[in-house]
């Protein structure tokens, strides 16, 4: 039994396999509409989420399966003090697969170590978010035709941006990759990303606080939101939240085939005016995320 906790739980060939299945789902949705008939997905979201939870639920419904969901974390057993380990053991009795989001870093790993069914990490605090990475990879692949030879700029909250950590890790396995990390000093990329992914794979990278100075170099601009829920101190959040706001003039020097990605939700870090720019791909990411989650559920449930 396999779970997806970290994007590195999937090899490059498994990622290719998932993307191929997702492409086939897009072409032949009817073929997949009953693949998970009789199977149940439990979505355990101990942290607020709209798109990720609905994306998992839509994915399971489109595969003909069922979804078990809890109303919110406040009404859950966790609010009564149940451990993640116990919750995972209990839910394994009801569901065939679990998608978990939890505010604590490492919670999904604890769930996977205790569940008797596959577990998918749908976000563990500010740590990792591998299924968003699946959406990101699929979007880049569909738009660029390859995942090699790209300069990727990550902008905003790189410290707590779990989607950034997972995508940087995933892209560090491809050839000809360069990273540009654009953030305020307080929200720089954590050392575990630099040591585990960048140094090990000899990836060339630049760290800067100035988006404008690097815009012309980028093939992909991955914008992120400064997340209020990651700060213990409201003052720090208010000081840093407007560090980078992408507006049309800032794209003056950008490449014509730049991809602008964002894991969403956005607050104000991308001006609405950018939505009309053909380089803006963040709503396509959402759709690709659903198809990749469908492919992932099929793989983890070992459905042919």
């Amino acid at each position: 039994m396999k779970s997806l906790i970290d994007i590195f739980d999937l090899s490059i060939s498994e990622l290719d396999e998932l993307m191929n299945v997702a492409l086939d789902i897009i072409e032949n949705p009817i073929k997949y509409s009953e693949k998970c008939k009789g199977k149940k997905l439990a979505t355990l979201f101990f942290e607020p989420s709209t798109r990720t939870r609905l994306s998992f639920e839509a994915a399971m419904y489109e595969l003909g399966g069922h979804v078990l969901s809890m109303a919110d974390a406040v009404s859950s057993s966790a609010a009564k003090g149940e451990s993640v380990a116990d919750t995972a053991k209990v839910i394994s009795c009801y569901a065939d697969i679990i998608a978990i989001r939890h505010p604590k870093e490492g919670a999904a790993l604890v769930a996977a170590n205790n569940a008797s069914v596959p577990v998918i990490n749908a976000g563990d605090g500010g740590h990792l978010h591998p299924t968003q990475t699946l959406a990101d990879l699929m979007t880049i692949y569909r738009k660029k035709g390859s995942l090699n030879n790209l300069t990727i700029g990550f902008c905003g909250d790189l410290k707590f941006g779990r989607t950034v950590h997972s995508l940087a890790g995933a892209m560090s396995r491809y050839e000809g990759i360069k990273f540009v990390f654009i953030s305020p000093e307080e929200l720089k990329i954590p050392s575990f990303v630099k040591e585990n992914f960048i140094a090990k794979n000899n990836i060339e990278y630049v760290q800067t606080t100035d988006l404008k100075s690097v815009m012309a170099d980028l093939d992909i601009l991955y914008m992120t939101r400064v997340q209020r829920e990651r700060f213990f101190n409201e003052e720090d959040y208010l000081r840093l939240r407007d560090s980078y706001i992408l507006t049309p003039p800032k794209l003056d020097t950008a490449k014509s085939d730049l991809l602008i990605l964002h894991p969403l939700p956005r607050v104000n870090e991308i001006s609405v005016a950018i939505d009309k720019d053909p380089r803006a791909c963040y709503f396509e990411q959402v759709l690709n995320g659903k198809y990749m989650r469908m492919a992932l559920i099929l793989k983890l449930l070992e459905v042919e």
Binding site: S83, K104, E105, L109, V110, N196
Partner: protein, 138 residues
């Protein structure tokens, strides 16, 4: 300064000077019902200065703990006043309940009876990271 040699027991030798106290604490030697001698800042031909711990009983020691604190330390087993066994150490690949994660956002802080596990991620810099949140061990 004169410290008697032991007849039966364990000598942890060649400890990096200043590290014996950390080792004493992590090995919980304060809980032993036997004599323990900590000799610190001793002149050493090889190392310049070193620490030594002598335990007056042959006990099982957690070699991972010693390897984590100082992989260059050596373990000498003494029986009837003779050195009968010498063990060399290496950095352990994993540490279980030796150090604790200090990241307040880590699941190991709140989850009931979850072991604190650290994984060696860089041998050169002797870096250990929490298995759950990947924050550096301190």
């Amino acid at each position: 300064m004169h410290i008697d040699s032991i007849q039966n027991g364990v000598v942890i030798d060649h400890i990096k000077a200043g590290s014996a106290m950390k080792l004493y604490q992590l090995l919980h030697l304060d809980r032993l019902d036997t004599s323990v001698a900590m000799i610190m800042n001793v002149t050493s031909r090889k190392m310049g200065k070193k620490d030594i711990i002598k335990i007056d009983a042959e006990i099982d020691l957690d070699l991972d703990v010693i390897g984590y604190v100082d992989p260059k330390a050596t373990i000498n087993i003494i029986r009837d006043g003779e050195l009968v066994e010498k063990k060399n150490l290496d950095l352990p690949k994993e540490l279980k309940n030796v150090i604790k994660c200090k990241n307040p956002r880590c699941i190991s802080i709140t989850e009931q009876e979850l072991p604190h596990i650290f994984v060696l991620t860089d041998k050169e810099t002797e870096t250990y990271r929490c298995k759950y949140c990947e924050v550096k061990g301190q």
